[in-house]
Symmetry: C2
Subunit: 379 residues, 2 copies
């Protein structure tokens, strides 16, 4: 049974437009097929079995996770092949080994001799079956060894000393979020590919098999021209998209599948403000478009069909209050929405906004709520 | 049984320093006593029964909430007197009435004739027992009617038309977060008090009883010189404090009771970066100190005893990665912390950081974890 959005949902609520999501999934599916690599979707954005089932290439995975809680959740639900894509901390090794013992095939990553020696001790000569990848820094934005650095081989040798096989290399070109044109996105995708392929070649030249060569971010995944030498691709935010992705030209605003349903609770007419019951607790504090050519404030305000209401955004937010006004600042001609009227707000960043909620209200192509999909948060 | 922080907790984890919290609670208790008003703590910061029990003046409340989920949670646990301090949306009236029917004494707020007429219809002549307060705008930062505006009396008359008593007035001087000196904080507290007392006087002059006169924000609560004409005070963040509060001089850094425990996972030595396993998902995206004289990045990095590690902050954050470096920018002399070493990170804003977690790890005065207190999130 379907229900109308406005009459049944208390606000704020997290809406998931199923048709848009399916379109986004299909777009990535075609791209992966064209590129001819394996696909290991990142479930850090959705943290939801119903969504993950739609993006995984099999019920057993593979998937990428950002927390071991994600690994637990999906392992308990039948997923077998799990890459935990944050450099492993020593205090998480027991947890990884417990997951592996329960039947998951875990991959972990590291980027230093220190970590490699520590992991070698814990993996006891490789008999655990946990796969270890070396993280490569392809863009200078966070962790990883430079692909042309002596450190790369030093890390591989430290693993070998502990009897641990070099399972491969992986990188994430997070700097792709700073790109501003299709040319820049294509160049970043090639930079990401070239870095990790170089690392794999150097490792193989030194006698390490290095079977896995893994890349990915939503922008580079969608703009890669080819992925020669790469074995698998990772991406997560593409399933929903968001204003940051629209701002860098990776999607259109009307590809954004996630929005926050909010209700008008009042006005400050002399300031051109309409007050909504969705503040930063609902939208998150993410201001990812602040550095983009079009600053979307705390979110772009749309009608219930998902069409932008002119240039109205959330110009400000308190914990449970959103201030809707013109992007240009306080105006003298506010859009008059009566108390009780509902709007949808597109988020800056799908990962951070979705994390403020415990469930998705799934909206079908007719704008009816067809179901509620649980998600989880935390560690 | 207590456990040492470092050996038992997987990171990131949310630590609550019990001794600091008790000190903060005692400070507010003394201030409330001195001011001679009732205290209605705001539970939007803690969202936790164990903390709420320590700040409520009785097991039945009163409390202030920011969501109806908070109202549900505390009502189910014996709290009777609940103020929902966000202008009521029409789609929440069923929920409020259900809470009232289950035995809670609910207060709601509104600030427009539109809302007053709608609420009057739903409250059916006041027989429900739900108390309605008029929100007063004392500082221009979000909702509320101006205390000297004709709208104030118009809202009261609209309530009366529907047979609803004017239960009182309330305001929140959220602009106090922008103050930068004790003088400014004292002046803002007086501005908040004067606004709501003026509103009450005008309402009484027009024949409305207006028994409740409610003010509050942590900064104004702690800096108010007197609260003549006010009946109750509200505050929430004082129980934990945070870097924003320290930045405006409301507390010292070593009053901050909340921190995120994180582990070193690697380095980018040429940049002076130490990588931690706590990113913006753990800290939240709140950058509340960005506009303050001292920008604390995504948080101030401290040792396990809660002492700042020189001028190290989180200069950047990815979803699950924190980049620890000197406040001054990338340095050539990074503090060398080996992989596996743990640190505590003080948050910009207690409300937003706590909301990223499902529980507090309570640390006693000896630095031992003595228990886990559940909290909740969402709506």
């Amino acid at each position: 049974m379907t229900r109308a959005i406005t009459t049944t949902l208390e606000t704020p609520a997290l809406l998931l437009d199923e048709a848009r999501m399916e379109r986004n999934i299909e777009r990535m599916r075609r791209q992966v097929q064209r590129l001819g690599v394996a696909f290991r979707p990142h479930v850090k954005t959705c943290k939801c079995l119903d969504v993950a089932r739609r993006i995984m290439t099999s019920p057993e995975g593979p998937i990428t996770v950002s927390t071991l809680l994600e690994a637990d959740y999906f392992a308990e639900r039948g997923v077998k092949d799990i890459l935990y894509a944050v450099v492993i901390a020593p205090n998480k090794m027991d947890h990884v080994l417990a997951l592996q013992a329960r039947g998951a095939r875990m991959s972990i990553i590291l980027d230093s001799v220190e970590s490699a020696l520590g992991v070698g001790q814990r993996l006891a000569g490789g008999s655990s079956g946990v796969r270890v990848l070396i993280e490569v820094d392809s863009d200078g934005h966070r962790s990883g060894v430079k692909p042309d650095s002596p450190d790369l081989l030093a890390v591989a040798r430290a693993l070998a000393e502990g009897g641990v096989e070099v399972g491969g290399v992986m990188t994430h070109a997070g700097a792709s979020y700073e790109c501003r044109s299709p040319e820049a996105l294509r160049a970043m995708a090639e930079q990401e590919r070239a870095a990790v392929v170089l690392a794999a070649q150097r490792l193989r030249g030194a006698g390490f098999a290095c079977p896995v060569v893994s890349v990915g971010s939503t922008p580079t995944a969608l703009f890669a021209q080819h992925l020669e030498g790469v074995t698998e691709l990772r991406a997560g935010v593409y399933v929903f998209f968001d204003l940051v992705m629209a701002g860098i030209g990776v999607c259109a605003v009307d590809d954004i599948a996630l929005s926050v349903l909010a209700t008008v609770i009042g006005h400050q007419r002399e300031k051109g403000w309409t007050l909504l019951d969705a503040g930063w607790m609902a939208m998150s504090r993410d201001r990812g478009t602040a550095g983009q050519p079009v600053d979307q404030g705390y979110g772009l305000v749309c009608d219930l069909e998902g069409r932008p209401l002119g240039d109205y955004i959330l110009v400000g937010a308190n914990q449970e209050h959103g201030i809707m006004a013109r992007r240009s600042g306080a105006g003298s001609d506010p859009l008059e929405l009566p108390v009780g009227r509902q709007v949808r707000i597109f988020p800056n960043h799908a990962c951070s906004t979705a994390a403020q909620f415990g469930a998705y209200e799934v909206v079908d192509a007719k704008g009816q709520v067809k179901g509620r999909w649980q998600r989880f948060n935390g560690w």
